[in-house]
């Protein structure tokens, strides 16, 4: 698993990358009440704003970590955005992206480096 400075986690599943936010990020955001996801089939570029997370406090954006096509979004988040707080690394995933350039993953941190960032 890789991590971005924006506190996303990225997990490679064959030709897809699953994206969510870390436990640290979900704790910092507080109770999440709404998640606006991209549409399946959207083509996105690295650093596009693809997700909006609304917590009880404020709205924040999530950036696309890679160039590619959104192949699947997590349908559970529409009715149960709190899943992001409850299980950020599992049931609270956001979307899957079919990457076009896996070398973009090299820019991101491994778990040890990420833990150092948030410590």
């Amino acid at each position: 698993m890789k991590f971005t400075e924006e506190h996303e986690w990225l997990r490679i599943e064959d030709d897809l990358v699953v994206v969510g936010i870390t436990e640290h990020a979900s704790t910092q955001l507080g109770d999440i009440v709404f998640v606006e996801l991209p549409d399946e089939g959207d083509t996105v570029s690295k650093d596009d704003e693809v997700v909006v997370i609304e917590s009880v406090k404020a709205a924040s954006d999530i950036l696309a970590p890679l160039d590619g096509e959104i192949t699947e979004i997590n349908p559970a988040l529409e009715d149960e955005p709190a899943k992001v707080n409850e299980d950020p690394l599992g049931a609270g995933w956001f979307f899957k992206i079919r990457h076009s350039d896996l070398s973009q993953m090299d820019d991101y941190m491994d778990e040890a480096a990420y833990n150092k960032l948030i410590s």
């Binding site: 109770d31 009440v33 709404f34 909006v52 609304e54 009880v56 406090k57 709205a59 955005p81």
Partner: protein, 374 residues
């Protein structure tokens, strides 16, 4: 920038793991480890304790209560004379343009008036009171008392363990009672829509009282985050957001706070700043009105979101002045201003969020029914 001021509970907030933020010049707890959502729900189901010591506590004293009342009635459109001893009212300082300079609670405490004003306005309010009312009336801005609010359905039972006379108080009654060994000035009121109490306590005894209340299993300390969602669901205005120098009491839906004695034809009609506009709007209506806004989807609409009459085209007709997620309503809730002809329940308007116009239903306030002991 000046350093943030601290309330007497600052160390206690840190000890309890509060996340602190600057608010109205004070370092205040925005949330505790429980989190905004659970703090909100706890207050609606049990009892929440709030540190509101940042607010201004002011005493107005004249030769008699009546003298102080006559003076204060020159500055606010409320019936201060008619307020009985041991009772409290909601009030507004109006400006010459008929806007609102601050909102406040004021009480008849026998021989004087006790008022609580917004933290951000307190210094300006006191300066204004002095300029307008001295030397006949003495104005004392208290610096030696803290202010706690205990809110929620269990508040009465919790406080009654410290003094049984609590149970005899009704909504908006004020009473002087000893709690935690100190003379406390207590009102049965609050800013959550729940039954509850606001307690002015001498600073020296403040922490003892807070700890004694927190020792009860039904009591949790609640931060500013939940305070805001609670008052929003209760349809209560936040000064500087939902009301301010450019909104009149009639536009804000606060006409109920202007008693008959101060209205046209009343015993002491007018005679307050902005009376011409405010009395005119009381009889003829105002061009815009504060309303409850219930977004139809799940996306919260926060302060500043523009409101449109139609899904496409046209200029904005108003904007959201407070908005967020209502944990009790379990959905987004907001307040804002729209033209009076559209301010009818069930009307659908549109709020623009991230470039998209989303449907919003105009609803009557509050979002959650008030739970007062009348």
């Amino acid at each position: 920038m000046d350093a943030l001021r601290r309330t007497p509970f600052y160390d206690l907030h840190l000890k309890l793991g509060a996340k602190m933020v600057g608010f109205a010049g004070f370092d205040m707890p925005v949330q505790y480890p429980l989190g905004v959502m659970q703090e909100h729900r706890h207050t609606r189901t049990k009892a929440g304790l709030f540190d509101v010591s940042h607010m201004g506590q002011v005493i107005l004293r004249g030769a008699t209560y009546a003298a102080a009342a006559t003076a204060l009635e020159r500055l606010i459109p409320m019936d201060v004379h008619g307020l009985q001893p041991g009772r409290q009212r909601y009030g507004l300082f109006t400006n010459p343009q008929g806007g609102i300079q601050d909102d406040l609670m004021f009480a008849n405490r026998g021989d004087h008036i006790f008022m609580v004003v917004n933290a951000a306005c307190a210094d300006a309010d006191v300066k204004y009171l002095r300029e307008m009312l001295e030397p006949d009336i003495s104005i004392k801005h208290l610096q030696n008392r803290a202010l706690l609010a205990l809110q929620g359905p269990c508040a009465e039972a919790v406080l009654a363990e410290h003094h049984p006379a609590i149970c005899d108080m009704k909504f908006m009654d004020v009473e002087t009672l000893p709690l935690a060994g100190a003379e406390c000035w207590i009102s049965r009121s609050g800013y959550t829509g729940e039954d509850g109490f606001e307690i002015s306590v001498p600073t020296a005894a403040a922490n003892d009282l807070a700890q004694a209340l927190l020792a009860h299993e039904d009591v949790e300390f609640i931060g500013l985050g939940a305070r805001d969602s609670l008052r929003l669901e209760a349809g209560l205005c936040l000064y500087g957001h939902d009301i301010g120098p450019n909104t009149s009491p009639v536009e804000a839906g606060l006409s109920w706070a202007i008693q008959r004695a101060r209205r046209t034809g009343g015993d002491r009609a007018g005679g307050f700043p902005g009376a011409e506009r405010i009395l005119g709007e009381l009889s003829d209506g105002a061009p815009k009105k504060r309303v409850g806004l219930r977004p139809q989807g799940r996306a919260p609409m926060r302060e500043g979101v523009l409101i449109f009459a139609d899904e496409a085209g046209g200029a904005p007709i108003g904007s959201v002045t407070s908005g967020g997620f209502g944990p009790t309503v379990q959905g987004p809730v907001a307040m804002g201003y729209v033209p009076s002809e559209l301010a009818k329940a069930d009307t659908i308007v549109f709020g623009e969020v991230r470039g998209k116009r989303l449907p919003v239903e105009i609803v009557s306030l509050p979002f959650t029914a008030a739970n007062f002991k009348r």
